[in-house]
């Protein structure tokens, strides 16, 4: 169970508060998509939820415990993240990357026990990364890399998975596959999966609930149907060129834009 209690996220510098007064909850098994345009605060919100940055106000509770005051090692057993940033060391093989997910569970040597190997084998099978386990991480394609990072997060057997913009570099079939995979993992393992995306179509089709950031510090929450019917999706994304059509459930090029082309 993930609980955000009057959470305010942002920075203690000139950027200031990005979002505030957030009261939201997600139950185990929920696949939640966080939608919003670039700069609407998706990453800031997700980093705060994963305690990678401090909140300005309020609290993030996971199963009733404040994530910010958890011991780092405890938090690492419960929350797994996948981010867009890539600052990897050379010489890392895919199997190393996935095995590192088990570090919060191992002793000082980092030696893997049977249950760690089982978690890794399970994650490898689910994410379908078996064929390139021995390859160098720097040597595989973007799509393969995202799969590896998802396998790594799965191997961490977390209560909460936080995935930021992970589908941005993938083609449509891979995006569908990965989002469906995450959704079914959430259901099977009873995890909360938070996924930020600007991939509206897919998110609206697959998410249990959508947290929609409008870019001006406001947000709305609901099932995909509720949000598209109420016009909130349109408010968050429409501009002169495109317009969200609630009846179709997708975007349309607005007539003025198509007249220009």
């Amino acid at each position: 169970m993930l609980d955000l209690q009057s959470l305010a996220v942002g920075y203690r510098n000139t950027r200031g508060v990005v979002l505030s007064g957030i009261d939201l909850a997600a139950a185990p098994g929920d696949f939640v998509c966080i939608l919003g345009r670039n700069g609407s605060g998706k990453s800031t919100l997700m980093r705060t939820i994963a305690a990678l940055q401090t909140s300005l106000d309020g609290a993030v509770l996971l199963d009733g415990e404040d994530v910010a005051s958890m011991r780092p090692a405890t938090r690492a057993r419960r929350i797994a993240v996948v981010l867009t940033e890539r600052q990897f060391n050379p010489g890392l093989r895919v199997e190393d990357v996935i095995a590192l997910a088990r570090q919060p569970f191992t002793g000082w040597q980092g030696e893997l026990a049977d249950k760690d190997r089982a978690a890794i084998a399970d994650a490898v099978a689910v994410a379908g990364v078996g064929p390139f386990l021995r390859r160098y991480f720097s040597d595989i394609s973007d799509g393969e890399r995202q799969r590896v990072m998802i396998a790594r997060a799965l191997a961490q057997t977390p209560r909460l998975m936080v995935l930021d913009e992970i589908t941005a570099f993938l083609d449509l079939p891979s995006r569908v596959e990965i989002m469906a995979l995450l959704r079914s993992q959430a259901k099977q393992k009873g995890q909360v999966v938070l996924l930020s995306s600007h991939d509206l179509d897919l998110s609206l089709q697959l998410a249990d609930s959508v947290w929609l950031l409008d870019g001006g510090g406001g947000f709305s929450v609901g099932t995909p149907e509720e949000l598209s019917q109420s016009g909130h999706v349109g408010q968050a994304f429409d501009n002169e060129a495109i317009r969200f059509s609630p009846s179709q459930g997708r975007f349309e090029i607005s007539s003025s834009a198509s007249a220009n082309t």
């Binding site: 981010l83 990897f88 060391n89 050379p90 010489g91 890392l92 990357v97 570090q103 000082w108 040597q109």
Partner: protein, 343 residues
Amino acid sequence: MAARVSTSGAALLGSLAALSLLTLTYGQIALPLTDTVGALTGTQSTDLARQIVLEIRLPRVAAAIIAGAALGMAGVLMQALFRNPVADAWSLGLLAGGQLGVALTVTAAAFAGPAAVSFLTFFEGPSITLAAAAGVAVAAFAMLALGRRVGAITLLVIGLMLGFTSQGLTSVLLHFAARAGGRVYGGWRDASFAGVAPSALAWLSLPILIGACVAIATAKPLSSLLLGETYARSLGVKVTSLRHAVLAATVLLVAPVVAFCGPVSFVGLIAPHFARALAGTARILPLLPLAALDGALLALAGDAIVHAPWEQHFLHLNAILAIVGAPVVILILIFSAAVRQWR
């Protein structure tokens, strides 16, 4: 993987023992192998053999092994910490920084007067090591601060340039120090294992031993840092304190080498690459013993070539290490799949 690590470890250890025995036996004066073994075990041997083996060759061989192992481990730590496949104590200017620290200390003592010089001479082991440690630490912090702003190859070039600058300054300082009565033992400006007195071996090995323990203790969180800072934090690593611990280990490993053997090049840079190739993993813990062993082997091999029975003594350790090491680095940069993204 564990099997690979122990097999390669055993093979390296065997080669190291064989090469040590060879280096103890051959030289300007070749001894029968039985005399060498006898001198080592304290059983039958001639006085001459005992003197040559125990007093001349053994300290040199021990220094080469200890220093090579320290540089190899420090290379593993630095390549992980800097996220840079060509980082090591020599290439990023830490060794030159340490030399500058020593030179500054000696010069300051020389100008402070004879009392300071005799104090420095009397406590040569600890004071030179401390001076080197200060220089290494300053250089390491500077490079770490820079490393977050520039790319891997830029950092390498800057490290080499700062190294040259430090060496230039060291040379100038030592000139003035010598005129004012200060002195650092010969052969130190170039790398050499021959200048390490038997009494200095303790000062060489003690900090290195502590550094190795710190390195082993930080191995697990440092492995997480291979994924980058944010992922490391998400795995429960306290990144800032980890950085400090790894830097401390690096200084402990490197400073005694600078203080007693000078700027030994290339060993720390290529030993981790051999270790990774042997271990088949980038995880830090299995790399440390392998890098220590192949660092020791490289250093000792260089020393063995320098002290082979040539007509005259003409080879410098760093010349040998450069002839072997530089092409290896070039090959790594061009061909290694592991560093493909870093060119």
